[in-house]
Amino acid sequence: MVNLNVSLAGVALKNPIIPASGTFGYGREYAELYDLDILGSFSWKGTTAAPRSGNPQPRIAETYAGMLNAVGLQNPGIDAVIAEEVPNIAKIFHGPVIANIGGFSIEEYAENCRKLESVEQVKILEVNISCPNVHAGGKNFGCDPKAAAEVTRAVKAATSKPVFMKLTPNVTDIAEIARACEEAGADGLCLINTLLGMRIDIKTRRPVIANRTGGVSGGAVFPVALRMVWDVYEAVKIPIIGCGGVSSAADAVEMMLAGAAAVEVGAANLKDPYACKNIIEQMPALCEKLGIENISDLTGGAHHG
């Protein structure tokens, strides 16, 4: 028997597979398809203080082995999520929930986390710092080590729950941002968010996505994400959730060998709504084949020896 249990900053997960934020909504659509209790956890849709209607159409484009999206953080706002989604999540998923939180100011991040303090199912806060800071000329918090650290400190002061900072890959040195978050008290990190990209329609000569640019995800970004998890693992001691292009049990193992304690699966869910279920079901056989007894032993396994 392979032991799939992992731990994220003291939170026990029955396996390391977590649907990534933005690809799983608040679980409703997938709960119609399979029993969500097989999941290690799930990271809900990025939630901001105010409701957001998101970007104009079109929001989606395709690339080789992946896709681009510019949804624009469409979400009903933290109060509506607590009032309407949390009670439903209680019915469809009984494991630890990861609450993905967005914000456009340091105060907004802190306030969103404060509101979740009493929400029992939420065991981890995943703080998306790929958002523009409206008080600093729209520069992304996650692109500046100082700003990333400031958000981390503010959020840590506002909650007793473990805080995982979700890092953007659109930086020169992601390890520097990771260290800044660790020093500011982050309990863990999640990486990577989508890579900024674009497509142009050669007939109309205009960008395909109305927002012009979008975030690239899917298998195309997997090697990039893997390398970044590797670099960050070398730079910090706190646990890492590896995310980016994971589409199979083998990808998840690879991500853990690079340094991930758990793995988020994103765009693969959109292509195949059963992606996480399949990965979880295939994991024991793959581990047995690889001679793995405890999956948690894989974390960082490629760095040693």
């Binding site: 395709e62 999206n69 949804v71």
Partner: protein
């Protein structure tokens, strides 16, 4: 929704670059005309959402026009090819809601496809559907014989006048003020023009959008409506006249 394998049984070019594709497979997830199938294609990341024209217990017919790399792959597939399909997606047209009205089905181009499924449902209930179909030109016209064989009253318009009335489906509807309800599918400018017709009390409009997942998870296809943002894939593709904003 159901994820299932469909096998291409027949593939027939019925107009330039336009194919009638009949698939065999489990259609039990299809509950209404106007729903769509999201088809996985080898080597393409995103599935391709295609409106279901009509179906039986073991087969499903799609009308597909090759307009991009995905639909080119799909329409050039060999008979016998198996496809991974998310089937029975979206809300579909409601035939129940048209009972007290004098409806017209209005299709532009391949908008004729899902309306054929509506017409079939109406015939099953003993109604005689009136159908207005618009095409760019005569050779683009599809399914005229099929609608006629079903016992529909068919009106045709072409932009260049090579078949039927010269003009648009809106010209046909305007010429028949008795129609007070519409079920329509076609390009956005057509939907918008129909929406502005004063004779229509209400109606059902089928929208399309670039989709990420097709089953309501990613918010990639959300459009604004008077009742807030709606996902074309899950809350639609049929939106109702009074909720639509342009």
């Amino acid at each position: 929704m159901q994820k299932t394998i469909f096998t291409l049984k027949t593939n027939r070019e019925i107009a330039p670059d336009t194919y009638e594709m009949v698939f065999s497979g489990d259609t039990s997830s299809i509950t209404a005309p106007g729903q769509f199938a999201n088809i996985e294609l080898p080597g393409r990341f995103l599935r391709r959402p295609i409106s279901i024209s009509h179906w039986t217990e073991g087969s499903m017919t799609l009308l597909v026009k090759a307009v991009g790399v995905g639909t080119e792959d799909l329409t050039h597939s060999d008979e016998g090819t198996a496809f991974d399909v998310l089937c029975g997606l979206g809300n579909g047209f409601s035939v129940d809601l048209i009972a007290d009205n004098t409806p017209i089905l209005a299709g532009g181009g391949l908008g004729a496809a899902p309306l054929y499924g509506v017409a079939k449902k109406m015939r099953e209930r003993g109604m005689t559907p009136a159908v207005a179909l618009g095409f760019r030109t005569k050779e683009d016209a599809v399914y005229l014989d099929e609608y006629a064989a079903l016992g529909c009253k068919v009106y045709v318009a072409t932009e260049d006048g090579t078949l039927g009335t010269r003009g648009f489906v809106t010209d046909i509807i305007r010429a028949h003020p008795e129609f007070d309800y519409v079920l329509c599918c076609g390009p956005l400018p057509m939907l918008k023009a129909i929406h502005s017709l004063e004779q229509l009390k209400d109606g059902q409009f089928s929208f399309e959008a670039r989709m990420g997942c097709g089953f309501g998870a990613c918010m990639g296809c959300t459009v604004p409506t008077k009742n807030g943002g709606k996902r074309v894939c899950k809350d639609g593709p049929i939106l109702y006249k009074e909720e639509i904003v342009w």
